[in-house]
């Protein structure tokens, strides 16, 4: 592959939009060509900056109200026309409204804590990728080195797995924090994407299966297992991150 071709497809590669063969070719080219590598590093920094710092404008409350109310109005005009419909429809509607309110209430109660937790995970992830901070304090592909390294540093033992067969290369670990809580950070790599897996004490939360959300362009997959809360974060595509979460969460 020559530089012109590499330039043309560099962005698609960074965005995970190339097939395996072409990805391998461009990765090989970058190993040999420092100019193209510099271009790629610049792109990585730019994307990180944009994803971490560009403002995301949430819909204002006034818009949310009007969007909800106009659909409400449109719905009520319809039901006026169909007054004679059997009452089981009304019952059904009531049930679904009640269900919606239940979900909404659950969302409102649970959401702020979860949201701020995810924001903190994003913050720690971005900080770990900055030039000034060390990504790993102990660099190793061996879980028999990483797991003992945490002893005496934190008062819990995170699950550490070697998953290179699945494409996730263990890079190492470091101590970090999520908000105020001390956390273990495991670092994996897939293709050219860094994945941080933050682990901290779950308090009295029950075990929960992985759930993924997108925060500021990063995918964040979180789950709870054995009294520990796990949060994997990366700019890698969502299926890959969820696959890693499943692998780490499985018993074997």
């Amino acid at each position: 592959m020559n530089c012109t071709h590499a330039h043309q497809i560099l962005d698609a590669w960074i965005d995970n939009e190339l097939d395996g063969a072409t990805s391998t070719q461009i990765a090989l080219h970058l190993k040999e060509c420092s100019a193209c590598l510099a271009l790629k590093t610049g792109r990585d920094q730019l994307r990180l900056k944009v994803r971490a710092h560009a403002p995301y404008f949430n819909a204002p409350t006034s818009l949310r109200h009007s969007a909800e109310s106009f659909t409400g109005k449109a719905g009520s005009t319809r039901s006026n026309k169909s007054n004679k419909k059997p009452s089981w429809r009304m019952t059904g509607a009531l049930i679904s409204i009640t269900a919606c309110m239940g979900v909404l209430a659950g969302y409102l109660i649970g959401a702020p804590a979860e949201n701020s937790m995810r924001e903190q995970v994003v913050g720690s992830h971005v900080a770990s990728l900055s030039d000034t901070q060390q990504l790993v304090a102990v660099a190793s592909e061996d879980r028999h080195i990483i797991k003992p390294w945490f002893q005496g540093k934190i008062d819990f033992a995170p699950a550490v797995k070697e998953l290179s067969k699945e494409g996730f290369m263990l890079q190492g670990a470091r101590l970090d924090h999520v908000g105020e809580r001390p956390a273990a950070a495991l670092v994996y790599r897939i293709r050219n994407h860094t994945i941080n897996v933050f682990v901290w004490r779950a308090g009295d939360e029950r075990s929960a299966a992985p759930v993924t959300t997108v925060v500021r362009g990063f995918s964040v997959t979180s789950w709870t297992n054995g009294g520990l809360r796990y949060s994997a974060i990366s700019d890698v595509n969502r299926p890959d991150l969820e696959r890693l979460a499943q692998l780490l969460n499985s018993e074997s």
Binding site: A54, A59, P60, L63, F70, R78, R89, A93, G217
Partner: protein, 181 residues
């Protein structure tokens, strides 16, 4: 009215209105104005509601985002006096509305100025580059969905993203030079 059942209304809310934040974010970046974005999204919701029964594709979010994009571009066309189409005025768009975006509470002054700077850089991009950057970096959408929303081939999405990032990077380099001298 193409809505067949009352349950469609609940379906509309569950599949379309759930994307209101993404819709507003896109409209806000396209129109570069709070009031215009709100008007455009309201218009888009109406259009989407009317067409919901018949015209939506398999991917409801991409379909709705395309409706939002069209409504935003129409709004800009019809309200040239209000929407700043060509020259982006940094003074006019002060830091005030930045603080209302969902910056983290612990965001320090450095991050704040970084956000402001980035916002101005992205806002100054021509809209065809701005929209693909917003859809890719802030919504994390794959090229295929961006191509459906913007209504251009995937190859064009790729080249616009590359060009858009080139332009952003140029601004970044220039500002770094400016601050070091």
């Amino acid at each position: 009215m193409s809505l067949q059942k009352d349950s469609d209304l609940a379906h509309f809310k569950a599949t379309v209105i759930v994307h209101l934040d993404a819709a507003y974010n896109l409209a806000r970046w396209l129109t570069r104005d709070e009031f215009s974005a709100e008007e455009a999204v309201q218009d888009a919701c109406l259009r989407a509601f009317r067409a919901f029964g018949s015209q939506r594709g398999p991917n409801v979010k991409a379909w709705f985002m395309a409706v939002v994009r069209n409504a935003s571009l129409d709004w800009i066309k019809q309200n040239k006096w209000r929407a700043t189409t060509d020259e982006y005025d940094e003074e006019l768009h002060s830091a005030a509305d930045l603080s209302r975006s969902n910056a983290t509470p612990e965001a320090d002054a450095i991050q704040h100025s970084e956000s402001l700077w980035l916002r101005n850089c992205i806002a100054k991009l021509p809209h065809e580059y701005r929209e693909v950057i917003v859809l890719r970096e802030l919504e994390d959408l794959p090229y295929k969905e961006i191509s459906a929303i913007v209504n251009v081939p995937i190859g064009t999405v790729m080249s616009r993203l590359a060009r858009g990032r080139d332009l952003l990077q140029q601004q970044l380099t220039e500002s770094q030079k400016g601050s070091s001298s």
